[in-house]
């Protein structure tokens, strides 16, 4: 039996874009105003009557080959045995190089603690046998969390029986957030750059 390796699968055929996951995350982790550990990107394409709206819940991919861990100069960011990429709040010096290196823009500097924070897949809940807050909250059951190394876990069965995608596989980060039915335009990086608004 190999080690536990957590992963997350988001079935976008079920996602209604209700943002409950983002709200649950904010409440669970006391995420500061203007920062997000997870959010739902919304993209529309086409012209009526041939138009559709796609959602893409974005959170830390807790990569198997994380650039942030490689680049952190103090090993404040490290990967747990089970794959969750952590930030040691006492060791982080706030150099922000991990934020600059992350291809998914899922890290931020806490304006209060002045250290880097990110989605930890609610490791405090997972260690207590609970699901991450976003997965627990999702009203349509679009999010599945579990051990991808266990062949009979729900996530393993869904991964094996569906066409799945990850974000930016070309970066060789080996992300562990998988998507079913993600739209091409939603997965692409786009939109207006940050404009200095808090």
């Amino acid at each position: 039996m190999s080690r536990v390796r957590y992963g997350m699968l988001i079935d976008l055929r079920r996602c209604t874009g209700c943002n409950a996951c983002a709200v649950a995350c904010k409440a669970e982790n006391a995420v500061p105003l203007g920062r997000w550990r997870g959010w739902v990107k919304v993209v529309e394409k086409g012209v009526y009557p041939h138009a559709s709206r796609s959602f893409l819940p974005a959170i830390c991919n807790n990569c198997e080959n994380p650039i942030c861990v490689r680049n952190c100069p103090t090993q404040a960011t490290y990967a747990r045995e089970d794959g969750i990429v952590m930030v040691d709040p006492h060791r982080c010096i706030g150099c922000k190089y991990c934020i600059a290196s992350c291809p998914y823009d899922v890290r931020y500097l806490s304006p209060f603690k002045k250290i880097v924070q990110k989605c930890l897949w609610c490791n405090h809940r997972v260690d207590a046998g609970l699901l991450p807050a976003c997965v627990q909250t999702c009203p349509t059951g679009a999010m599945t969390f579990g051990d991808v190394n266990n062949p009979i876990s729900e996530i393993s069965r869904l991964l094996a029986s569906n066409p799945v995608q990850v974000l930016k596989p070309e970066k060789d980060t080996r992300p562990h957030v998988f998507y079913i039915a993600a739209d091409m335009v939603a997965m692409r990086t786009m939109g207006t750059p940050w404009e200095g608004k808090e």
Binding site: C92, C95, K96
Partner: protein, 301 residues
């Protein structure tokens, strides 16, 4: 963006690295450039560069004392800076830098003190030891950019070389200005060492040309590599950073100085050479700004 596609909602976090980081890169570059020029006389025995040997090492030390300060004030937790020396991550270029930024100024101090004491042999020894250190202390900053893999503008193998060449541009330009000021203000007969200034001017023009070649290669590859890279190239050429890149870095900071330094009617006059040196220094600062700030301007999510 293609017809009919609209982003309704998305999150962008604040660009993490700010102007202090660009200034830090600029100062380490100036320091490395000054140091290498200083060793031309005291390390390699090129007598004509002797007048800039001492001032070169003094500048190298001063700049390298100031440079890490701008790094530390940019930290979220400045008082935890010692974590850098205690908790190491061998794969992180910042860890390499923590040691280089400690060893290099020490070597500069030893080299400088032997120079001022007149011990030619030891000066030469520590000058030669210092050259790889000076190259590393600036080259590693190129790796900080290059290994910041998320950003299309940074993630290129050219980056460390590009940083080193631009460091030499700014270092030589600084030395030209120093030689002129030293001659006009501090020398007894108030005369500028014109041969040295013009010689450095020739060296500056060659280095700027090499720098331009690297920029050219970089932009050509960005235009053809992938979607993010092409976006980055258009941002530099026609987008929000074109003023800094095309106008200040390329035209004002490289092409115009090269013209001044190469044209037969200006390259033997002090004022055009001084202007060229000043503009080259401004151009290198613009390059650091464009890379650090512009590199983070494109959205990733």
């Amino acid at each position: 963006m293609e017809e009919g596609v609209q982003v309704f909602y998305n999150v962008f976090h604040e660009p993490p690295l700010g102007v202090p980081i660009a200034i830090y890169f600029y100062m380490t570059g100036l320091s490395a450039g000054s140091f290498i020029l200083s060793t031309m006389a005291y390390g390699f025995g090129m007598i004509k560069y002797k007048p800039i040997g001492k001032i070169g090492v003094v500048l190298a030390i001063l700049l390298l004392v100031m440079a890490p300060l701008s790094l530390i004030i940019d930290l979220g937790q400045p008082l935890r800076f010692w974590h850098l020396l205690l908790y190491l991550q061998p794969t992180s270029p910042i860890t390499w830098g923590s040691f280089l930024l400690t060893i290099y100024p020490l070597n500069c101090l030893i080299y400088g003190s032997f120079m001022f004491a007149g011990n030619a042999r030891m000066t030469r020894l520590f000058g030669l030891i210092g050259i790889p250190l000076a190259l590393s202390v600036h080259g590693y900053t190129g790796f900080i950019m290059a290994l910041g893999k998320a950003r299309a503008l940074w993630n290129t193998a050219l980056m460390p070389t590009y940083f080193l060449v631009s460091a030499m541009v700014s270092g030589i330009a600084l030395m030209i200005i120093i030689v002129i000021i030293q001659g006009l203000v501090f020398s007894k007969e108030h005369k500028v060492n014109r041969d040295l200034a013009f010689n450095l001017g020739r060296m500056l023009s060659m280095t700027i040309l090499l720098d331009l070649f690297l920029v050219f290669s970089d932009v050509i590859l960005l235009l053809t590599a992938d979607t993010d890279a092409r976006e980055a190239a258009y941002m530099l050429l026609t987008g929000s950073f074109s003023t800094y890149f095309v106008l200040i870095e390329i035209i004002m900071g490289a092409l115009f100085p090269v013209a001044l330094l190469m044209a037969p009617f200006t390259n033997k006059r002090l004022v055009p050479v001084a202007i060229a040196a000043f503009l080259a220094m401004v151009g290198v600062m613009a390059m650091r700004y464009v890379l650090v700030i512009g590199g983070q301007a494109l959205p990733l999510s």
